[in-house]
Amino acid sequence: MAKSTPTKAKSTSDESSKGDHSWSIEGPIQILDPAGKVIDKELEPKLPDDELKEIYRWMVTARSFDERALSLQRQGRLGTYAPLSGQEAAQVGSAWALEQQDWMFPSYREHAVQVVRGQRWVDILTYWGGSEEGNRIPKNVNNFTISIPIATQILHAMGAAWAGKLRGEKMAAIAYFGDGGTSEGDFHEGLNFAGVFKVGTVFFCQNNQYAISVPRERQTSSETIAQKAIAYGFDGVQVDGNDFLAVYYITNRALEKARSGGGPTLIEAITYRFSHHTTADDWTRYRSAAEVEEWKQKDPLIRFRKYLENKKLWSDKDEQKLLEEAKAEVAKAVEEYEKLPERDVEEIFKYTFAEMPWNLKEQLEDLRAYLKEKKPEE
């Protein structure tokens, strides 16, 4: 189920940021400290209580999904999988700020963003379970398919937003990528185009500190990733990526700016990948357990839960109930995933072109004939 239409936090999005280049903030924006205490009341989005609980439900479900997907992979029931644990606030926080008409261009780790935006957990499993069907996105959902070649989707997001601008639509596009992606040529080209044409794109970098094994310091000697925006002529801002409220606040602001013709923004969300790059990776080869443990102290889920508790919105009982519900929701997706029907081989030939050319038809016929010979009983 996709998120319901969020109530906008008027207090944060009212400020007109059109042409405002003064809003870059020194150091990462933080609204909640790791203990869940509000340290910046002025920036705190005024979200209704029910919505706050719903947000927490999303983050917990994403974590639960992630853990289950990892174990499915270890049991051989899922293919290679890219875990998101640790990045829930960055993902749900930014996704929550998007509106239906906005376009979202993920890399390959944005499972939570995809589902908050209207895809289903079973789709994520289906994709990583080796079937292109998981990339079948409903017509009314402006999510793009995942992009595996690093940083390439930055250009697509910019182009889609550009088309919207040319047609006079009030929309924004958001591109997700990692710290490693900022080293690729397409990062430069995408941000440069957006700056030149003032395209309403939000470049959302989840700086999770590692591109597989290579640390952020090996990707750039810039002090921050956010500061790269200065060279492209637009705003760049760092945010504590494990702080839902801060991520939501700044993404919302950047999107509003984009929708209202104010151009692009680069957001660097500082976060951490708790687990492996993918299940084919082993993080113990390049990180210490102590380092991981240190980041786990900044767990975005714990922080948000404490925020809810401080607001008297959450109890241990609520927590227990939510964990069970999340597990059940994920279990339902797994059940559905494992009941997926076998697909006909025509599926792999379809969609190469709008209409199948003769060579493909011939090759499909030949494959069918071969499979029939192999299993004559069918």
């Binding site: 990583w128 292109e132 597989i212």
Partner: protein, 326 residues
Amino acid sequence: MAQLTLVQAINDALKVEMRRDKSVMVLGEDVGVDGGVFRATEGLLQEFGAGRIVDTPLAESGIVGAAIGLALNGMKPVAEIQFDGFMPPAFDHVVSHIGRVRWRSRGRFNVPMVIRAPYGGGIHAPEHHSESPEAYYAHTPGLKVVMPSGPYDAKGLLISAIRDPDPVIYLEPKKNYRAFREEVPENDYALPFGKANLLKEGSDITVISWGYMARLSLQAAEMLGEQGIGVEVIDLRTLVPLDINAILASVQKTGRCLIAQEAPQTCAFGSELMTLIQEKAFDSLRAPLGRISGFDITIPLYRLEEAYMPDAGRVIRKIKEILQFS
């Protein structure tokens, strides 16, 4: 002699060459601390240090472009591209520069470098991790294209690639990385480029293949051998330079020929082989030339990957079809 897997043989080749020649270095994503995502560079950082085993930023074009500069100034870089599907970001450097530096500078400069990449399907990987891109490079003048099929060849060919004065695209069949072991000599040995390997002799039909498909073709040939059909299997080892003499000698003997490749069919390297054979051995042909390929589609994700990947059954079926022709 040690029993090594293909990926161990590659690791061994890198070590042997790096010990022998101080100008040899490795660069790429995750090749250092992590030892490479397939562990092809495992232990190299410890032995040779961070100056010769370089974890680069995530940028394929950057890796290859930088390697060009390194090679121009006396190093012998072995650049690793993590997967076949991430070679296109470096495509411009590969075709517009490395294949042409010698030509452009009239021999003043050359770029003796190796680009290693795992290639091919069959390991249940995500998109862009299962491609067979050899035809792009075979069509590009100035590049050598090497595709080993097993551990022994992998080591000897990689050593030759590193010593070669020209740039080499070295594609490793990832499905065979750990599929089997072979005796691999501990010392250094170089297998010459342009010399195909006769994997099996036979008089009824020639099967030409390379990389992953070569061993598969051998299996098919052995199965047919039990039925009394004599299949000659040629493992090309290198596509550029091509051992045309071995091909012609075999086809002139058998009069029938099948090309077995994994890449999409249209304009693949198999098309070139068929064209060459009919050009040079037309009168020897006793049946139309046949080919087994991937289909002209993007290689599917793993649920239906099996239907895409040529298997021994498809090779046998096509061989029988060609043999039936009289």
